[in-house]
Amino acid sequence: MKSKFPLVTAAVVALCGGAASNAWAGVEDHVTFSGFGTLGGVVTNSDDVDFRRDQQPDGANKTIDTGVDTDLGVQLNVQATSWLSATVQGLALKRYEHDKNMEIEWAFLKATPLPGLSVRAGRMAMSTFLVSDSRNVGYANTWLRAPNEVYGLALLPRIEGGDVTYTKDFGKLRLTGSVTAGHSEANVVGQTIAMHDVHGLNLQMQMGDVTARIGRVTADADAPGIQDTYKFNSLGVSYDKDKVLAQAEYVQRRSDNFYNTVAADGWYAMGGYRFGSLTPYAMVSRTTPQHSNSEAPSMIGTLSGKQATLAAGMRWDATSFAAIKIQYERVDADGTNGISFEKPGPSIFPGLPNTMFISVDTVNVFSATVDFVF
């Protein structure tokens, strides 16, 4: 496996650490320390399976679980000059492997040599969705958690490499384009797979209250017995004006050599309305596995089964630094393995979470969180 801490990442951490400890008094205006977190509890009406998010190894059942949504992040930002900055973010949350719960999520240098142009190098979030960078920052979002039917499909949450972003205004229209290249890791059913030649392309259009984006990620998977090209296409649109907010995204996950295991489409639509400090919202989301007849039926099952969720929730901006949220979901996996579930007990792959050869019908999920920033 590749080094977990490449040179650029280490350099950025050292730079931030040095600036913070040595010269605090002198550069106070240049150094920002901030943090965010979520305290959450989830309970369902089923003891047959655990409800989880992303690739978590286990989750909630009839006993309340605090691991699904709880997280804590701290961030240090050093604005060295008007055109150069460094950002390091540490993030603790329940991940696919327990020894990886606390990680340096990002560490990058950002330069803005010309107005509208920015270049970053280091470890950063992979721009795959409307909410890629801040999806773990509960306070920054209306929903309690991003819909797993869409956000749970992406296997590359971050990248080590670089990106170039250019923003240009045309009257009221703002266009942003960005290209990304580097390497990464994917976690699939508890297995870590090195991903090389990761390339990303993002185009975003913003006009008044409407934002639309389109993106594509490709990457080569290289592991014993797995030679493959992974592709992820995404499309999103959001609207936010005064009291009304609405958002929808559609994604496609594809694979060249394991199509019938990997390929799936996902979409969601969400709407909310602000009544003062209360924002009730509703969301519908769906994952549909895709099948190719030109490829033999998959012997290793499908990574993601069918799943549809109806969710209703409420965000309450209770104080100036914290928001309280509740969310109810009716999750229907239609007798497949769905995408949000893990079955406790012996797995077909010893030692790995039991997420593929399981059958789930309808599960009711109730969640509550307190999101804060500091």
Binding site: Q89, M124, D133, D242, D317, F321
Partner: protein, 140 residues
């Protein structure tokens, strides 16, 4: 007589309410090359959508204390957003490394001091605090 007293009390209350609803004005340093700004130009800088102003290379927005009347008034009139919405937006931007929220200062006088020291800074103060050290660039 009783009615006149009541009227006087009512007028006094109205005046108090009027005074409590601070009239704010957006200001830059008197030395700044920025002349007049539109509502959208001011909003873009305070909401992290823009880091420069026409006529100046860079814009450094200055906030007032969270929960203060001037701050409430500024964001309601200029951005049409509540404090919670603005804070949510900055959480989104700052925790994705796209910017840091404006520095919050304790009073109109502190804002004016900072403006005098930094020609790129832009702030907002109670209209009654305008003086020769600052230049009004937008009045909602």
């Amino acid at each position: 007589m009783k009615n006149i007293n009541r009227l006087a009390v009512a007028v006094a209350m109205l005046l108090t309410v009027g005074a409590a609803r601070a009239d704010i004005v957006v200001v830059v340093s008197a030395k700044s090359s920025v002349a007049k700004l539109t509502k959208d130009q001011v909003a873009d800088v305070f909401l992290g959508k823009s880091t420069s102003l026409p006529g100046a290379s860079q814009a450094v927005p200055l906030d007032q204390a969270a929960g203060s009347k001037v701050r409430d008034e500024f964001y309601t009139k200029v951005t049409g957003q509540t404090q919670a919405q603005v804070k949510t937006l900055w959480a989104k931007l700052s925790f994705s490394g796209k910017g840091t929220p404006p520095k919050a200062l304790g009073s109109d006088d502190e804002v004016k001091q900072q403006l005098a020291a930094n020609p790129n800074a832009i702030g907002y103060v109670d209209k009654s605090k305008l003086d020769a050290s600052v230049k009004a660039v937008f009045e909602p």
